[in-house]
């Protein structure tokens, strides 16, 4: 039975029911529609994954979407090993977030709308990952962007939220423009948009060049870089990372699902999916690796000093996405996807944990107004702690295995790889530091909020804590299917790196070969970095903020802190070089010349001419019947006279 067809369309059905009937009929019962549909979708998704593991790869066109001359696109599904991994991530995290939202969004006036959008998002994301051609990928790509916009601006009465929604949408335009051009170029080059023919023939165009603006460029490099543009926007890499921190204005389940676990990883998925194209271009791979490595370090440094709990986690997301691109850039797609998969669990957990804290603290976001929560919010504390250990790369937890593989593969990649590896290890230290800064400041120490907040402090209801616990299990064990052989051999486990073997048919194996000693060296350093970061965070932030304030008294640290606090002034820079010129053009050229000078002149001019003419004409309409009769009689005589004279 082709039950895999139902996977994306069940959430779509849920969306349609809720959006059409939600306002007047379903109201606050919307979760009875949304959650079961996503749950069923998850069941079918996992069944499909089981089929893929047993060796079935599905590639089928369902429906011919567009035919125009040579241009033919179908709606179709390609379900291979890569899609299977994404199916697990998307359906499981989506289902857990849906369940969590029942508690978190309880009593919100737009309850049905929230679940409708969440369903629509799940549908779009599934279309994106299950697609077998570039156009359907592009459809899903834009549709998840739309859902992201709708959900960031979900509390649209709040100006900051609607602004953040617009910002996310507009910043993504920059990336998607390049992505669209890339898709067009793929069609022009190969004459088809289906993945498999493109990937089979891509080696034939290696070395072909294309002339743009009088310069000669390598065709594959151009295609790869244009596609990567889309990934930069969607996955919030430098220089288009600015939208993701602002996207935290949306409800916290949205941040967990869309802006941590699934949508933002679409860029990584796309790069891995198109690996036959990227593999042919050394330049594009270097660009990806550099972008990823620099973003990882850059975002982690900003995350060090933020005080808003969700923003810290958002910068952490950008940083972890940087790791994934770093892995793709050095050809270790398997490691990148593995990190995507483990990251989905622990990062969704971090966000949902933050949501649980906000739930208890009446929406408080500043970690300095929390403190000592570990006694009151036991489940939240333990699950957040597990997620933080996982992201810090403590051995045994999921994040350790994936991050370690990325660092190791980077280390093997020549001189540039060594530099990027060093940056990656430094990032690991910073990651552990900011993650445990949250733990130390918000969960340890004494309570610093208001009395009222302290009085109302409570653990969230089971509908919220159970998803936390399930994700926490994922954050611990999800890495155990990709244990590096060097450890696997030590503990006597065969096929310990099962995940990489599973993905190999799609993404291949990285070419670099290393020694056990090199691997152990990289691993030891990353463990030291993780533990060091944790220790440093507890050393500085245990007790009150005295040690942190003492550090800020030093002029150099103060200066660094100011730069980091202002996020390297990137927003200000963009405001200066993009927003202001655009607004100036809008006011002086578009508004004054085009709008008032041309469009309004036409729109107002035509009725004005008609008005002038009718002013003359209306005089003859006196309202007296006799006058009309006279006109009639006169005209009649005239007609008769003309007939007679002729």
């Amino acid at each position: 039975m082709k039950y895999y067809v139902l996977i994306p369309f069940l959430p779509l059905l849920g969306f349609l029911i809720n959006i059409l009937l939600g306002r007047n009929i379903i109201k606050n019962r919307a979760h009875w529609i949304a959650v079961p549909f996503v749950g069923l979708s998850m069941v079918f998704g996992l069944l499909t994954v089981r089929d893929v593991i047993s060796g079935t790869v599905i590639n089928e066109d369902l429906y011919t979407w567009i035919i125009s001359g040579d241009f033919k696109v179908s709606v179709g599904f390609l379900i291979d090993q890569l899609t299977a991994v994404m199916l697990v991530v998307v359906t499981v995290v989506s289902f857990l977030v849906h369940v969590y939202s029942i508690g978190y969004m309880h009593g919100d006036p737009g309850y049905y709308r929230f679940f409708a959008y969440l369903n629509l998002f799940t549908f779009s994301m599934l279309m994106l990952i299950m697609s077998n051609n570039f156009l359907q990928l592009y459809f899903g790509w834009e549709a998840v962007g739309l859902c992201s916009y709708l959900l960031i601006g979900y509390w649209y009465q709040k100006k900051s939220a609607s602004d953040a929604g617009k910002k996310a949408f507009i910043v993504n335009r920059f990336g998607d423009f390049g992505f669209g051009l890339g898709v067009i170029l793929v069609f022009l080059t190969f004459g088809t948009l289906h993945y498999l023919p493109v990937f089979e023939n891509v080696s034939q165009i290696a070395g072909r060049t294309i002339i743009l603006l009088g310069h000669e460029f390598d065709l594959v490099t151009i295609i790869a870089l244009l596609l990567f543009c889309g990934a930069i926007g969607k996955s919030a890499q430098i220089p288009l990372h600015v939208w993701l921190p602002d996207a935290m204005e949306g409800p916290t389940p949205v941040s967990a699902l869309i802006h941590a676990a699934t949508m933002v990883t679409a860029g990584v998925f796309m790069v891995a999916r198109c690996n036959p194209i990227f593999n042919l271009s050394e330049t594009a791979m270097t660009v990806i690796a550099l972008t990823g490595g620099i973003t990882a370090l850059f975002a982690a440094t900003i995350g060090l000093v933020q005080n808003d709990i969700k923003r810290i986690i958002a910068y952490s997301t950008i940083s972890q996405l940087g790791y994934m691109f770093l892995a793709c850039g050095v050809g270790a797609y398997g490691a990148g996807i593995f990190h995507l998969y483990t990251h989905a669990f622990f990062k969704a957990l971090l966000f949902l944990g933050a949501g649980s804290v906000m739930h208890a603290m009446a929406g408080e976001l500043d970690i300095w107004k929390m403190g000592g929560l570990k006694n009151k919010l036991k489940i939240t504390y333990i699950t957040m702690l597990l997620a933080s250990l996982s992201i810090s790369g403590i051995p045994g937890f999921a994040g350790f295995f994936s991050k370690d593989e990325i660092l190791y593969q980077t280390y093997l990649k020549g001189d540039l790889g060594k530099v990027l590896w060093f940056m990656g290890t430094l990032t690991a230290l910073l990651t552990a530091f900011y993650s445990f800064r949250i733990i130390a400041v918000a969960f340890h120490g004494r309570f610093r909020g208001t009395h009222e907040q302290e009085h109302h402090l409570h653990e969230s209801p089971p509908v919220m804590t159970i998803p936390l616990i399930l994700l926490a299990i994922g954050a611990v064990v999800s890495g155990w299917i990709g244990i590096p052989p060097v450890i696997g051999e030590a503990i006597g486990l065969e096929h310990s790196a099962w995940f990489y073997e599973f993905l190999a048919p799609v993404v291949g194996h990285p070419h670099a070969e290393g020694s056990h000693s090199a691997e152990l060296f990289v691993m030891t350093l990353s463990i030291i970095a993780g533990i060091g970061g944790i220790g440093l965070a507890f050393y500085i932030y245990s007790g009150d903020a005295e040690r942190a304030e003492a550090l800020l008294k030093r002029p150099l640290l103060k200066k660094i802190h100011t730069v980091l606090w202002n996020k390297y002034y990137v927003d200000e820079l963009y405001h200066f070089i993009i927003v202001r010129p655009v607004l100036w053009t809008a006011r002086t050229v578009v508004e004054a010349v085009t709008d008032i000078g041309i469009i309004e002149a036409i729109v107002n001019g035509v009725p004005r001419v008609i008005g002038r003419l009718s002013e003359r004409l209306r005089v003859i309409q006196t309202g007296l019947v006799s006058h009309y009769a006279l006109w009639m009689a006169g005209a009649m005589f005239l007609i008769i006279a003309i007939i007679l004279i002729r």
């Binding site: 004409l617 309409q621 309202g623 019947v625 006799s626 009769a629 009689a633």
Partner: protein
């Protein structure tokens, strides 16, 4: 035997009297009467021509004209009463709401 042209002269005379009455009189009842005159002028013409051409279709058409004239009179009188009720006026130049 009266010749055809006399009928046509009569018809023309009646029609012009009707037209003049229609154009110049202000009293709505007189205006209706003038319309009737014009219709009947046409009827005379139709019957005379029908007889002259030995074709019954003209006389048949006359019956239709009479029927239409009756309907027109009924509607016209209804309008007159309605006008009188709303404006207490029986003169056509007092109803000028459609003035442009």
């Amino acid at each position: 035997m009266v010749e055809l042209q006399w009928y046509i002269w009569l018809s023309l005379g009646v029609f012009i009297i009707g037209l003049m009455g229609f154009l110049t009189r202000r009293n709505l009842i007189i205006v209706f009467m003038s319309v009737e005159l014009m219709l009947n002028a046409v009827n005379i013409n139709l019957v005379a021509m029908s007889h002259y051409m030995q074709d019954m279709r003209g006389q048949m058409l006359t019956l239709f004209v009479i029927a239409v004239a009756a309907a027109e009179a009924a509607i016209g009188l209804a309008i007159l009463i309605a006008l009188f009720r709303t404006k207490a006026a029986g003169h056509v130049d007092e109803a000028t709401e459609l003035k442009g």
